[in-house]
């Protein structure tokens, strides 16, 4: 299982605690993890990636094993520690605004 840590407001929206687990078939990438996350929690569609372009929303970033994957192509393989569930994928909201 893949572990994903969500920002606070999205936890409230999805009615979950900080960490959720999703199952991914095949390569573990940013896209496949987010696809699985949105399938399991459809209320998150459009909140992390734009509905139409599927691009990351500007004020969110993706971190894996202390590396910023936000600007990586969405089909880039995530580290083995993410694929094995040893480490979570962090979805983090920008510390900005009010």
């Amino acid at each position: 299982m893949i572990r994903v840590i969500l920002p606070g407001h999205l936890r409230t929206l999805a009615h979950v605690s900080a960490e959720v687990q999703v199952h991914v078939e095949g390569p573990v990438t940013q896209r496949s993890v987010l696809d699985a996350l949105e399938m399991q929690y459809p209320m998150l569609r459009g909140t992390i990636r734009d509905h139409v372009t599927q691009e990351r929303r500007p004020f969110l970033r993706f971190f894996a094993c202390e590396e910023d994957y936000s600007l990586q192509p969405p089909d880039t393989l995530l580290p083995e520690a993410i694929a094995s569930g040893a480490e979570p994928l962090l979805i983090i909201g920008a510390i900005a605004g009010g």
Partner: protein, 395 residues
Amino acid sequence: MSGVRVLVGTRKGAFILTSDGKRQKWDISGPHFSGWEIYHLKGSPVDPNRLFASQSSGWFGQIIQRSDDGGKTWTQPGTPPGESATGPGGMPKAESNKFVYDVSSDTGKPLTTHMWYDGTQHPWEFKRVWHIEPSPTDPDTVYAGVEDAALFRSTDGGKNWKELSGLRGHGTGPKWQPGAGGMCLHTVILDPSDPNRIYIAISAAGAFRTDDAGKTWRPINKGLVSPYIPEPTAEVGHCVHHVAMNPSRPGVLFMQKHWDVMRSDNSGDSWTEVSGNLPTDFGFVVDVHAHEPETVYVVPIKSDGEHFPVDGKLRVYRSRTGGNEWEELSKGLPLRDCYVNVLRDAMAIDTLDKCGVYFGTTGGQVYASADSGDNWAPIAEHLPAVLSVEVQTLP
């Protein structure tokens, strides 16, 4: 005994205030959707327990919430928590927050660009829902006015949204320009006497009307004069802040423009100024008495550069003559050191015999009058900045 439910949208959540018909003691629930911007909430006239809310965030985008029990519980239409994410055939369930501009060939692709602040052309980009307008006849039909300006409609209780793209596609779109708050479609008025007639207003494009249920639209800005735009009497480009109508007289409209309070007696075909003796005719809200269609309310704001009341005195002005002659209403309102604003959707009027008037401020107060504006009292204080106020009169 009948009662009222006041729906308050703020910068950091929604609040629901309830009272009996006396409107003296108030219960406050909330914050709902804590931490999110709630631009607007509104109830269905057909089913008062059905409420819709526009929840948005600069981080996470747009969410639509619906309550079917008067605001006690909320879900995103089509995606109740705990249920399967997919419907029959493995298709994803409805995506109630999906607002996608129509670019289909049968509606006039390409549906134009609009004018950016610097005068260049800019593509439409969805940002948020400013106003939700439930149908007066069908609890599953609801309209959404959005930024960048467009009108969407749902016919399944908010599960799916489709643009009424004739509005953007009718030809003047390249001349529409964002106001300071963005290029928002903020006013949606459904004519109760004619289901095919809808009025909308956009800042800063002006007012528009359809007479064929949204297929085609035309600007209704004749008579508006805006000296601060290149062509002061242009067909479009006016910064209309809000429009109000008494349902018993659908052809009569009142408008608070950027500057100027206006009135139309012919469904918007032409407008005349009725600012009269107002201390300033800049402002955002305008509303009409529930039972006296010539009684109108505004909250004058000092100027476009100074968004606060004149002399630090928060006052509502009422005209009982359909404009021009205005009286100051100040009993119970702060009359010194008050520098809040009252935003365009932040006034509402109930339909009790002695109708109640409500408005919210950017300072987080909600004021109410149970006697048509003669006397006022705060019914909530210290809320986040108020973005919108609606009221439901309950049986």
